[in-house]
Every structure is written in C-alpha cells, then in structure tokens.
C-alpha cells in the first residue's frame, strides 16, 4: 500500500529534556480527489455522534489528550490558549453541531486524530530534503525555503529536514511545503510525546492511510 512508518531524528537536547518525544512519518500517494467520498463523510458523522459535550468535558482526563496537554505545558504552550489538536476538534464539533467535511486529506487527518487522540500533519513530500527531524531552530533561521520566509526566534522547537525548518512544532507547515493541488506524494507525520504509546502513533498514521485509500 505504501512505505513503512519512518522514525525521524530527534535532537539530543530535546531527547534529554523531553522524555518520550519522537516524530514518525509515512509517505503516501496524494489523493486524486479533493472531495471526501460518502463513506468518509459518514465516518465523520459517526465520530461527531461520539463527541458530545459530556465527552468533551472529560477529554483532558483521557490518557492521550492528557499527555499532549502536559507536553504543551512543558514546552511553554498554554493548552487553554493554544488548544491541543483533539480539544480543538472537539470544540469545533460542539460549535458547529457536527464535523464538517473539508476535503479528503483534512478529513483523513481529523478521523485519525479523533480515533486515536494523536494529531497528524501533512507535507508535500516532493519538497522535502531528507528525513524529518525535531530540533531547535538557530537564531534567525528561516521557516521554509522561500525568499520571503519569516525568521524564527532562536530556540523554537521545529520540524525540519536537511534543508531547514519546515513547520513550528504543532504548527502549520511553511508555505512551499504545505499540500496543494499539485502535490503528488504526501509525507504525513505525527509528533509523539511521553505517555503516548507507540502503537497509538502507528495506528493514527495507518488510519489516515486507510481513509485516504478509500478516496
């Protein structure tokens, strides 16, 4: 179906300070269609039924969302300001009264997130230079490879390849590396944190692959 899950490199300082941190990725063919097929939309509807207010209220006590909340705190993010991805999805579901389909790729990422609690992001694999890694940005290093790319403050934790930072940790990919209509291959990745079993990360990546395969 596709290549096996790849474990990315993690900077030694990050490994020493943040136990259990890791990055895993999977290369997948880009979906041929933008719109989600009926089966995927029905899957979203079924997940929306599971995610009601009562579930949202106790979500942060569940082991995987809790692990991401703790990790957010450890890296200086306030999870009540910058929501952990599964809480953001739960809030969106409550506000809109359901999970809206936003295209096959976005839906596949959402389904994997809600099924496992593990957030995923996608990059255009053909714009990457080498395997993904987690590291600290150097002073003034640019986010992305465009000429007008914004400079990062030194010490930010970033997802990078051999060519430089591609996205801030838990942030959107830099322009030029995001998935577009022209994308042929996807690099879907997950950031693992302490307290999240490896199996959940693998399952999230495969759930995404399976949903994309349905398209």
């Amino acid at each position: 179906m596709s290549e096996p899950v790849r474990e990315g490199r993690v900077d030694q300082r990050l490994r020493e300070e943040l136990a259990g941190i890791g990055i895993a990725s999977l290369l997948l063919p880009a979906p041929r269609t933008g719109r989600s097929p009926r089966g995927v939309r029905e899957h979203l509807d079924a997940l929306a039924i599971r995610f009601r207010g009562a579930e949202a209220q106790v979500l942060r006590q569940r082991p995987v969302p809790h692990a991401y909340r703790v990790f957010f705190r450890h890296v200086g993010l306030d999870p009540d300001v910058t929501r952990v991805p599964i809480e953001a999805a739960a809030v969106e579901r409550l506000v809109h009264g359901g999970l809206r389909s936003r295209g096959l790729l976005a839906d596949a990422l959402t389904i994997a997130l809600l099924e496992t609690g593990v957030p995923l992001w996608a990059l255009d694999a053909d714009t990457l230079d080498g395997p993904l890694a987690l590291r600290l940005a150097g002073d003034g290093e640019a986010l992305g490879r465009r000429r007008d790319a914004a400079a990062l403050p030194g010490g930010r934790i970033v997802v990078a390849d051999d060519g430089g930072p591609l996205a801030p940790l838990f942030g959107d990919p830099a322009p030029g590396h995001a998935v577009t209509r022209r994308t042929r291959r996807l690099c879907v990745f997950a950031v693992r944190v302490g307290g999240v079993p490896e199996m959940h990360v693998q399952e999230a990546l495969w759930a995404c692959a399976e949903t994309l395969g349905a398209g």
């Binding site: 300082r13 990050l14 020493e16 300070e17 943040l18 209220q57 106790v58 942060r60 006590q61 809790h66 909340r69 703790v70 705190r73 450890h74 890296v75 200086g76 993010l77 306030d78 009540d80 300001v81 600290l136 403050p153 010490g155 930010r156 934790i157 801030p168 940790l169 838990f170 942030g171």
Partner: protein, 158 residues
C-alpha cells in the same frame, strides 16, 4: 568538594546536572498539577466562569528552571483558585437544597421563595416556587404550595 572547588569545569558540570534534575522535578510537578486541573475541569461548569488560561504566550521551546518554576507556581495558584470557586459553589448549592427542603416541608413559612434547578447544580431550567393555591383566595386563606415550573422556555425566532 575541595577538588570540585579547584576545578571550575567540574563545578560547572555538577551545576548543569543539578539544573537538569531540577527541570525534571519541575516537569513532574507540572504534570501532577495538570492532572489535578483536569479532574477539577470535569467538575466545573461554564456558569462558574473560571478562566483556565495561565496567560502564557510564545512558541514551543525548552523552558529553563526559572520559567518552569513560574509555570508550576501559576498552575498551583490556578488549582487553588478553582478549588475555591468549586467549594463556594458547593456551599451555595447545599444552602439552596436546604432551602428547597424547608419550602417543601412548610410552604406557608416560605411564601414566594424560589429555587431554580441550576441553583442546586441540576441540569435544566425548572424552578420550584412557593405560590398560593387559587391565587388571591389562597393568599387570604393561607393555602400555599410548591409549584414546579416545566423545563426550559421554547426557542423564539430572531
């Protein structure tokens, strides 16, 4: 110790080890406080008006001992505040439940007293109110009863 005092490189290494251990301890404390906040969040209601945010800004980075200490202190303070808010609500609700019991036992002594379901921590919009039976006649005759209003008002068009 004297050997370390004469070797600045060893003293620096020892200090780094101490700091790394301190950061680990602080991260474990932050994790425990986050777990306590999560338990409290499950008991809280939007009506409590609790502000959960610690107001921290900035991107993902490695925090030093000072920042971790401030984070730990902020979270501990937040846990303390939230417990206070929840305890005050529990006390208010207990008082209202007590009032409701007295209203039901002796309506005449609690004329026009009113307790909403929300006041005792129950979901819904129902209200218990002491009202006279048969209106003015009941008021004159001292016929008092507890009436339960039914549910939430119907949604109205905008």
């Amino acid at each position: 110790m004297p050997a370390i005092a004469q070797r600045p490189d060893l003293a620096l290494a020892a200090a780094e080890v101490d700091e790394a251990a301190a950061r680990r301890t602080l991260r474990a404390q932050v994790a425990r406080l986050e777990a306590q906040l999560a338990r409290l969040a499950a008991q809280a209601s939007p009506r409590d008006g609790i502000d959960w945010a610690t107001g921290r800004r900035g991107g993902p980075r490695l925090l030093g001992v000072g920042e971790l200490e401030r984070l730990r202190d902020d979270l501990a303070e937040r846990v303390h505040e939230v417990r206070g808010v929840l305890a005050a609500r529990a006390e208010r609700e207990a008082h209202q439940r007590d009032l409701l019991e007295r209203m039901l036992r002796d309506p005449a002594r609690h004329r026009f007293a009113r307790v909403a379901q929300a006041d005792i921590g129950e979901p819904g919009c129902g209200v218990w109110q002491v009202r006279p039976r048969l209106g003015l006649i009941g008021m004159l005759m001292g016929w008092w009863q507890v009436k339960v209003s039914s549910g939430c008002p119907l949604a109205e068009g905008r």
